[in-house]
Symmetry: C2
Subunit: 233 residues, 2 copies
Amino acid sequence: VILFYSDIVENEQIFLTGEEHAHCTKVMRRAQGDTINVTDGKGNIYLCEITQSTRTQTTAKIREYQVSPPLSKRFAVGLSILKNPSRTEWFVEKAVEIGISDFYFYQSTRTEGKSINQPRLQKIIISAGKQSMNVIFPTIHFFSSFEPMLQSLSSIFEQRFIAHCNGVESHLITHLKKPNTKFLLIGPEGDFTDKEVSMALQYGFQEVSLGSSRLRSETAALVGLTAMHLSRM
Amino acid sequence: VILFYSDIVENEQIFLTGEEHAHCTKVMRRAQGDTINVTDGKGNIYLCEITQSTRTQTTAKIREYQVSPPLSKRFAVGLSILKNPSRTEWFVEKAVEIGISDFYFYQSTRTEGKSINQPRLQKIIISAGKQSMNVIFPTIHFFSSFEPMLQSLSSIFEQRFIAHCNGVESHLITHLKKPNTKFLLIGPEGDFTDKEVSMALQYGFQEVSLGSSRLRSETAALVGLTAMHLSRM
């Protein structure tokens, strides 16, 4: 199934613009009268018939649609901004495939990266979401300071974990419990400061390990996300 | 700890050449009299003192060494050659960080990739192995046909799994048992043919699922490898 993306839905019509329009008409050669599947990234898949295709826009009439139930599980990861944007990008792609509700990118004391390219990450989310048929696209959050993020997370996620390398023994997998909303905080390459760890503990985070290997931040994030999914099996 | 790599060890001396020599002298600026840590990728870490540094080679005298015990667990993954080499490369990097004993790259009916760049993958193994301190580097195997690979695997790995998307219900994680040698076979983007699946079953492979998400081959490989590690916790 080829899936297109658009969040412009009005009066039982859906509009593809920009790259999605180009992909639909130039790459996939879909024209007036053809049937296409479109997701809005919010859990809906529309079966539509193309009614008009201009140079800049595809217009399609919605014939049927399919609603995914809202996510019953909400698994999210916080990643300190990385120096190397391509590592962030692959993490985002893989996390969308595996299933993630929210990305939190943040700056802490030892963060080395300066910023994230949100439009670029959004494109990767759309492309990976279409490819994996995970049609409820995750949300990107950005925090330029640490404590406000901890505060905000505390009201959203029931189980909250901080993975760090400073003598934690028990593995994330042994801590995963019933709650449907889980958050895992991964530190920068130089790890959290002691102050940051104790701050997280004050906000009700549990300290966890991700095993004995020395993992890069983005690998740790992916291993942790996979563990959250596997604990449901 | 900065770790260098060399497999040239003779008479209590170790020799760095090529990129490792350049990294040691130009990037890290280590010269005669300095102490360095070197791994041979076979589980040994040597503490050495540089005795000579020429334009092309660093020579170091071994002062102490540390031997990692041989891997008690042997987890391996087979991946159909991918069209996109950069996806293979990141899989290799991440798998080394997480821990893997062997890579099997193979060609099957629906394989889209033509070949692997073994010297390039070897470099990635060295770099990820040094970074993650996983100092027993995995071996790369290549099979240009499917059945000889199955045959060879059967004599090496006690538990053997084939992950495919054609109606398998039970997740890999529910099948993982005691044996210390485990192998997971991942198909090409177009999946295995029915014939290939039944051939694998004849060679004692168990069919498994990796969850309900539609994962790219390299993502499936990483999720499966992570599951094998987590089942030990």
